[in-house]
Amino acid sequence: MTMFEAILLTVATAATPLLIAALGELVVERSGVLNLGVEGMMIMGAVCGFAAAQQTGSAWIGMFAGILAGAASSLLFGFLTLTLVTNQVATGLALTLLGLGASAMIGETFVGLPGVKMESLYIPFLTDLPYVGKFLFGQDPIFYISILLTIGVTWFLFKTRAGLTLRAVGDNHTSAHALGVPVVRIRYLAVLFGGACAGLAGAQLSLVYVPQWVENMTAGRGWIALALVVFASWRPWRIFAGAYLFGAVSIGQLHAQALGIGIPSQFMSSLPYLATIIVLVLISRNKRLTLMNTPTSLGKPFVPDR
């Protein structure tokens, strides 16, 4: 394996959880709901994914357990904010706190146990291709899911009637409601999708990235995913670009350090954040387009009048 290949692979592993969690949150926010609980749902996915894989010995079961755990956490959020109409910001923050605490409790017996690593794909000949073989044909299944998700979410949001309806709900829930669109039901589905994605992103962390369980192992990646959604002005391919840029710069700075080029490490560590923000702000500098893509009803409570 050449250095180039190795770097490409680590970048993909670093970018995948951000991409998946951000895509999920994108759909949630496009439907007009702001769920700040990504970090909490992600860590629930990580712990449940690890636990299920550890118990059954199957990384696939772990992955589905992670997805379910994320979706279940988001259901709690949905019930509170959509049915009981609580404040979305406060509820989302509470969900993060709850997730961090609950995952530590669930995971207590799993600390220090070796995990199950999800096997990477291997296709004879194709995987052995020089330079891109490993990147295109030799990665873990969650990587391929993340790519399919990017394509799928783009297609769903912009090419299907259901996607149009979802965006309409996010732009103006009152009008959508007046047209007979089931606003709350659509938002529930969006929130569930977001939770499932966050759970999957968490499972990627504990099954692929670092196959072990340690408390707090998401270490703020949920928040980065949240920020990506906003800086990418709610567009799936920009999220893809942002996640990979972030991954590339974070891995690149580690290599630069190991080479000893002598730039202060504090600056290098902040570089992924700086670079991602600058690039995404630059590509979103067209105000009219950005406004067009911002879900106008984002974070506003909706109570259907009969």
């Binding site: 190795a6 509470a94 670092v210 340690v214 408390e215 580690l254 290599h255 190991a258």
Partner: protein, 355 residues
Amino acid sequence: MKKLMMALTMAASFALAGSAHAADKLKVGFIYIGPPGDFGWTYQHDQGRKQLEKELGDKVETTFLENVPEGADAERAIERLARSGNKLIFTTSFGYMDATVKVAQKFPNVKFEHATGYKTADNVAVYNSRFYEGRYVQGVIAAKLSKTGVAGYIGSFPIPEVVEGINSFMLGAQSVNPNFKIKVIWANSWFDPAKEADAAKALVDQGVDIITQHTDSTAPMQVASERKIKAFGQASDMIKFGPETQLTSIVDNWGPYYVERAKAVLDGTWKSHNVFEGMHEGLVVMAPYTNMPDDVKKLAEETQAKITSGELKPFTGPIKKQDGSEWLKAGETADDKTILSMNFYVAGVDDKLPQ
């Protein structure tokens, strides 16, 4: 509903500090930088706390706050422990230093113990461990075993505690192979398993065949094991994460110190001090030497014995600084003050120290 939410959030924040109360027990509080389940730094402090509870039984009652960030938040957390009746508070990370001193001024009757710092006061003691003694042994092993002659070093923050370790590792390695090299990556975090894993991967990709870490998670050990190279554990015995990978690990053994200091408060003999203890006092323990040939193991054990007896001090001249200037003359040993404020590399380290 809003009320229920509030109750939920409040319950969540209280749940973080598990405690009950009793009148005449000595309440001892701990502030942790990571979760007790990190299997590294915080895990070992928590083992110390458990030993304290076990040995002193009914006489003490312990509380801990985990995942407390260094900085302004730390001050609030320490103050909360002081207000809730803790009479002895251990703050277990370098970055809590100023916060500890500040809170200590407000609570003259509470005793504070800050780990790995250097600021003391009448009610603030400092305790530190000579981890670097273990690093020296690691350096010896690394230089014996490495085929590429390059080791990878994952650092957290460029503070004296970590710089000491890098220098000592280097000196140990140079005692075997004068041309030994190390590549340093700063993670700028004490605990971020994914980032530590990335750093380890980057180091392996750049050709190191032994990894040592001064960050707190077991992720680098796991990467080393996947890539079939060797690694040293950190803070606790990490053999479970690399049964065929771990060479040894520096195990921080805080228990005896915690018991001694709690007893001192109970007896009324507690005094502020600044202690710096290592292998000799049993604060630094090495995990079993594994995955190495017998001759290397023997050399490691001999080195450890010499350091324990005081015959060998890692920072003994002649040592040059990185820039080539003389630091210690032949036979001269560094004093604790210099060691505790070390902010330079010794000759041979390839990294540029972030200032």
